[in-house]
């Protein structure tokens, strides 16, 4: 068995809407091993995206701890957490979230602006990442000039360009047609197998989750 890279320890999360406390996750504990492809499934409102956000360090639990590669990220302040995310996490969103004013190249280059890499080195990294997602020929295209599947591939290139340890994907095929969804899932599988990326993916697409090695089901904030 490989090393545990993510440890979610007794995590609970509630949101406040006006004066009402809405529990979303209730005492969840999960271990994710290095190189694992974990699928999180569940109906809408089950708390799967919230759990993903906690693992990615873009939200904080109400109770419990989240340890990633030995770092308890719940203890980091905002700026340390931002820095940690830029080094360790690649995020793939359902709606791609590319910047419309930037080309595919520039969108992928964005996370590298936070590094000390030179322009030439950045160019090399971006071209490699776009090559991995088979979009070397669309490098200077703007998002509006790409199909949904291509946009998602650019988003994946952006997620991997800094060579993060973990990829988190929130419904990566949720906005795509069947064929494009399949291409994206094949790409994520390749990243997991060939590039040894640990992937945590939220989906309620049964076909998508087939690529995951481990699947957890969430319902009403609890693992089932």
């Amino acid at each position: 068995m490989s090393n545990t890279i993510i440890q979610v320890q007794n995590v609970s999360k509630s949101y406040w809407r006006d004066s009402f406390e809405i529990p979303v996750l209730n005492d969840i504990s999960i271990d994710v091993h290095e190189g694992e492809f974990l699928g999180l499934m569940g109906p809408s409102g089950s708390g799967k995206t919230t759990l993903l956000n906690l693992i990615a360090g873009i939200d904080r639990p109400s109770k419990g701890n989240v340890l990633v590669a030995g770092t308890d990220i719940t203890k980091l302040n905002e700026s340390a957490l931002a820095k940690w995310r830029s080094h360790n996490i690649g995020f793939v969103f359902q709606f791609y979230n590319l910047l419309p004013v930037l080309t595919a190249f520039e969108n992928v280059e964005l996370p590298l602006l936070l590094t000390s890499l030179s322009k030439t080195e950045r160019k090399k990294h971006v071209e490699f990442a776009l090559g991995v997602v088979s979009l070397s020929d669309r490098i200077h295209h703007y998002p509006k000039q790409l199909s949904g599947g291509q946009e998602q591939r650019v988003a994946i290139a952006r997620a991997i360009v800094t060579d993060p340890t973990i990829l988190v994907a929130d419904e990566p095929t949720g906005d795509l047609d069947k064929r494009s969804a399949e291409e994206i899932m094949n790409l994520l599988e390749r990243l997991n197998i060939e590039f040894k990326k640990t992937i945590v993916m939220v989906t309620h697409d049964p076909r998508a989750v087939e690529k995951a090695k481990v699947v957890h089901h969430l319902d009403k904030g609890e693992l089932s």
Partner: protein, 386 residues
């Protein structure tokens, strides 16, 4: 790709909106500069005053004359270097609209007390020799095409009758604030005719211009001069040239204050225009800012992005405004009668104020968007539907 490129691309994302904002700012900056220039030019007379010049006028009002005989008495006051005098002539050159200052002066001393009016020594000697000659400023010479040897006909009003003056010299201003729109001629030429036609008005001058040796003695010398004529029928009020000019301008104070106020209100308006643009832009980009944060960009980066965009737009607006202001101010200067505004130009202070205002507007307009971008939690931002 650099952050600056991103700022540039963001600023031009909604080209029409950005263009309208830039045009709005440009018009506002232009209006601000023109208003400030008008106000500045009213006060510019103060810049042209000299510390070593006193003006003695009739104590009741500037419009009442003083006896010519005061001249020698004033000259005896310790500290006085030169005493000169002038007399407002009025009159019309061809048409009423051709307004410029026409003054009967003491030909022997006038350029001694006004060294900033530079005149060729030969022309000056010729002027002194001819009783009906005059010297005109280079600005009006240029405007009306006056040349040495020309005769300038004036229809008198304060001093009735037809008058003719031969141009014997053209003076040039020493600097930008020196008035080059005046016409000087011999006071004695007027006085001679007054002696013949209106003896009661002979021997009178408008005001005395007193050059003193030590500017720090201005108050003492003024008091001494006024004390000499205190109990006469023509008491004097002597003050520094600056104080005299200030009193003269004070009649327009309310108007100038209102213009100044409007100029700064305009700055407030452009702040709202740019603020509105920035708030709309930042609101539309709520999700993008959340993505930036997710990728590891800090609050400082977002601060720089939004502030940079705001300042970029305000700088473009201010720059365009200033570019159009110069030809507009030149155009206004060309159509204004020279006598009303002897000089009309944008002062460095106005430029600095406009540039500072643009910077402040850029900063202020970005405050709310920055606050919003920083306060919005990533998870809320990612869920935002604009």
């Amino acid at each position: 790709m650099r952050i600056f490129k991103l700022i540039f691309k963001n600023a031009l994302r909604h080209k029409l909106r950005t263009l309208l904002t830039i045009i709005g700012m440009a018009i506002a900056v232009m209006a601000f500069c023109v208003l400030r220039t008008v106000v500045d030019m009213y006060y510019a007379g103060l810049d042209a005053t000299a510390a070593n010049r006193l003006i003695a006028r009739q104590a009741v009002s500037f419009i009442f004359p003083l006896p010519y005989s005061y001249r020698d008495q004033i000259a005896k006051v310790p500290g006085v270097q030169t005493v000169s005098f002038a007399n407002w002539f009025g009159g019309t050159y061809k048409e009423k609209k051709n307004f410029f200052a026409r003054m009967g002066v003491d030909a022997e001393t006038i350029f001694d007390v006004y060294p900033e009016c530079l005149v060729d020594p030969k022309e000056y000697e010729q002027f002194k020799r001819e009783r009906n000659s005059c010297i005109v400023g280079s600005e009006i010479a240029k405007q009306y095409g006056f040349k040495v040897g020309d005769i300038i006909p004036i229809d008198g009003d304060i001093y009735p009758g037809k008058w003719e003056f031969v141009v014997r010299g053209i003076y040039k201003p020493r600097d930008k604030v020196t008035d080059a729109t005046q016409m000087f001629f011999h006071w004695s030429y007027i006085d001679e005719r007054m002696k013949q036609d209106m003896p009661g008005r002979a021997g009178q001058v408008g005001w005395y211009i007193i050059k003193i040796k030590d500017p720090s003695q201005a108050a003492t010398i003024s008091e001494q001069i006024d004390a000499m004529f205190k109990n006469s029928s023509n008491a004097t009020k002597t003050e520094t040239e600056r104080a005299f000019t200030q009193n003269f301008i004070s009649g327009f104070n309310s108007l100038l204050t209102a213009m100044n106020f409007v100029a700064f209100i305009i700055i407030g308006i452009i702040m709202l225009v740019l603020g509105n643009t920035m708030i709309m832009s930042a609101r539309e980009r709520t999700r993008e800012y959340a993505v930036f944060k997710t990728l590891g960009f800090s609050g400082g980066h977002l601060f720089g992005l939004i502030l940079g965009e705001s300042i970029f737009i305000s700088a473009l607006g201010a720059g365009s405004g200033l570019l159009v202001t110069y030809p507009i101010v030149s155009g206004i200067a060309a159509i204004l009668p020279k006598g009303f505004f002897p000089y009309f130009f944008i002062t460095p202070l106005t430029l600095i104020l406009a540039a500072t205002a643009a910077l402040v507007v850029g900063l202020a307009a970005s405050i709310f968007p920055i606050q919003r971008a920083l306060r919005t939690r990533i998870v809320d931002g990612l869920r935002f539907i604009g």
